[in-house]
Amino acid sequence: MALTGRAGLVAALGIVVVLLAPVPGAAVAGVCLLLAAAIVVDLVFAGAVRPLRFHRSGDTLVRLGGRASVELIVENPGGRRVRGVLRDAWPPSAGAGPRLIPLDVPAGERRKVVVTLEPTRRGDRSSVAVTVRSVGPLGLAARQGTHRAPWSVRVLPPFLSRKHLPSRLTRLRELEGQHPALVRGQGTEFDSLREYVVGDDVRSIDWRATARRHDVVVRTWRPERDRRVLIVLDTGRTSAGRVGDAPVPLAGAVAQGGGLLPSSAPPSAARAVPGWPRLDWSMDAALLLAALAARAGDQVDFLAYDRSVRAWVSGASRTELLPSMVNAMAPIEAELVEADAQGMVAAVLSRARRRCLVVLLTDLNGAALDEGLMPVLPQLSSRHLVLVAGISDPRLAAMAAARGSAEEVYDAAAAEHARLERRRITARLRRHGVEVVDAPPDDIAPALADAYLALKAAGRL
């Protein structure tokens, strides 16, 4: 049961009655008895909550930053009207609203209420409970009950870098020769024969076929197809660090206007909004690369690994690759453990039998790579082409450029030290024959796509 503010108000009015009454003791007893009787009557005549039935329908998938709506049908099989409020309890990061929904279901009927979810975080969000408070006819007291009406919404990565896809696809078409630039170069394989037209490179004339056909025939070329790309996502501790500015406010980004207090002062540099984890930026870049590679006719596999396999997508067809990848990525969070590079390399080697392009999305952290990846890298780079993509922190660049005071110069020295370390590890990786892409969070996805296109153009896949 629950009381309403009206019950408190009636009791407060009782104070006046008691003050004015000739026999105050009896007046107190009378007011209390009357109030108790009214509350009991209210409870008895309020619509029953326990027999209510709930049915759900609506979205089960939503991109982060999008809005999902879940419909909840309240069925009242009881004999009395249920009037009051309903709360559909979701975890805070599901962004469910409105918090309280007014409800009025006559006896034997059903009503639909809609809950909108604006999630602030990737992953699966489930409704915990539905609570209904059914107020009695006098409005003094209410019956309250909680039901389980399970529903789950999966929040997918937003794939913000898809805006870069059209321009990269144009570049890809140029490579493929659908664009009229039929230049034979490295990284091309024989496609077909066709008649010579003016402007074709004379070097591509196939003399043998020309002799058979009594016509000048040229060979056409196209970039290699059906190569394999394996995207490996490091979900270890280094991917938990937040960089850049979150394009979609994540849970924990309090200063993004979601705080309880209206922010009067502009957020200072010290209390800057924590950005997105490296993991989310990496996912964004991985999705763009996967979309591009799938269009280019390559087979894309996806592996997420820290100390064990977190996700594994393999053999997906071109159309279902992206959906299955975002679905696999959705529940992954950065684990606060050191990634096991040896296990990761073993997992890659056991899964990729043929030579493929291994794209490792991790952080170019000197200490972590020195101890983890560097010793086992030769095993990987001897059989596969390895591309390491790291997300640099724009804050480091800002710190390294500050010259305002001695304190800032000390910070700049620390930032310079970190960048030097990063350049050192990058140089070491390149000496091992590993391609390295190092870009700030906003540029990592297009930079990685460009690196892939460059490799493809060079025929190194």
Binding site: I15, R121, H147, P274, V409, A414
Partner: protein, 396 residues
């Protein structure tokens, strides 16, 4: 989106719901053992309180108290010897029972009495302990600093009653008496018992009353000492601390208190107000549904380690390391721009830089490879100069 995108934990078809609120029956089932246990505990406690002998708070040196700290035994001994013992708890009662002054006033506590009114009571006085107002009750006797331990002591004096009693459990406070007084039971620098004639009566002060309690009366010569001190044949007025401290009255204009002036309904109205506050508290306190907890990912900015390193540099004023890092960064960026191999030596870098920018080679050399700056201003200047060189190289 294709079909395999359905969430793994798909809701059951139709979205069947189930009530999870406890029913009356389930509440009873879950709580009956606890309720029964609580009832048993309450019953046992009530029974224990009802059956236990009525034990009151023990009252120190009270002639009606039978506890260890009381003095009922001594009072009974005195009565058996035909001595009248009157228990009083105020100076007024003591003065009223004093009569002509042929009584002995036993003072055990003066916290709530006016000592001057008490001092005016005629007759003998026996003061127990260094009570407040001792200087008025026994003029000339002053308690000495330091508290000698209470223990069995020899009288070492020729006061008849005391000498006959022998060793007794005294101590607590040592006194220095006025001239003409007799001191017994030496303790510390003074005596634990001082007696002298004053204003037509005998005033005796003892350091503590332990020897008169029910606990100690049977030990040593305690009973003899107490009987000899008190049982001199005169009736005894025994002043104890009152059961409840006397309260000053707050009379209004016609002797009415504030409560008398208030309308009768106000108290009830306050009760009603408390009730309404309770109802409002219940209204606001009842939560609509459960609190939903969530496991949130850790929020840690990637730059935190670097900021920490910067603060360490700051705290230790590590100019050498800071300058080293800045120089290494500059050299690392300049080397490829100057067309030098990555491992180029210092002289080559300086020579190439000087040729490229037209700066003094000595100045460039000391900026890139010189000693670390001597103070923070030097460090800032160095950082700015390195920036300047880099800009020169990139602009040319």
């Amino acid at each position: 989106m294709s079909a395999d995108l359905r969430p793994v934990a798909a809701p059951p078809a139709g979205g069947a719901s189930a009530s999870v609120s406890p029913t009356l029956r389930s509440t009873w089932r879950a709580g009956r053992v606890a309720a029964l246990l609580g009832l048993v505990i309450v019953l046992a406690a009530a029974l224990g309180v009802l059956l236990a002998p009525g034990q009151r708070e023990s009252r120190y040196l009270d002639p009606d108290d039978t506890s260890l700290a009381g003095s009922k035994a001594l009072a009974e001994l005195l009565r058996a010897r035909g001595v009248t013992v009157d228990r009083v708890d105020s100076a007024e009662a003591a003065a009223a029972s004093a009569g002509g002054g042929d009584r002995l006033l036993l003072i055990t506590d003066t916290v709530y009495v006016n000592e001057f009114r008490l001092a005016a009571v005629p007759g003998d006085k026996l003061v127990v302990g260094a009570v407040p107002g001792l200087e008025a009750l026994a003029p000339g006797v002053r308690p000495l600093p330091g508290q000698p331990r209470e223990r069995s002591r020899e009288p070492r004096c020729d006061l008849p009653g005391v000498a006959a009693a022998g060793s007794a459990y005294v101590g607590g406070t040592a006194f220095a008496g006025p001239s003409g007084s007799t001191g017994c039971y030496p303790a510390g620098d003074g005596h634990a018992l001082v007696t002298y004639e004053h204003d037509g009566g005998r005033v005796t002060v003892v350091g503590s009353g332990s020897f008169m309690t029910n606990q100690r009366l049977a030990e040593d010569g305690n009973a003899a000492l107490a009987l000899n001190l008190i049982g001199t044949g005169k009736p005894v007025t025994w002043l104890v601390r009152p059961q409840t401290p006397p309260v000053g009255e707050l009379p209004g204009t016609r002797g009415e208190s504030m409560y008398d002036l208030m309308p009768a309904g106000v108290g009830w109205a306050v009760l009603m107000g408390c009730l309404s506050v309770a109802l409002v508290a219940f209204w606001r306190g009842r939560r609509l549904g459960p609190v939903v907890a969530e496991r949130l990912p850790v929020v840690v900015r990637a730059a935190e380690t670097v900021e920490g390193r910067g603060r360490l540099y700051r705290a230790r004023r590590a100019r050498e390391r800071a300058a080293g890092a800045l120089r290494a960064g500059t050299i690392d960026r300049l080397t490829p721009r100057l067309g030098l191999a990555p491992g180029a030596g210092g002289h080559e870098v300086v020579a190439a830089l000087a040729a490229r920018t037209g700066q003094d080679p000595h100045q460039v050399g000391s900026a890139l490879y010189g000693p670390p700056p001597g103070d923070d201003a030097g460090l800032v200047a160095l950082a700015r100069y390195l920036d300047f060189i880099e800009r020169q190289v990139s602009e040319l």
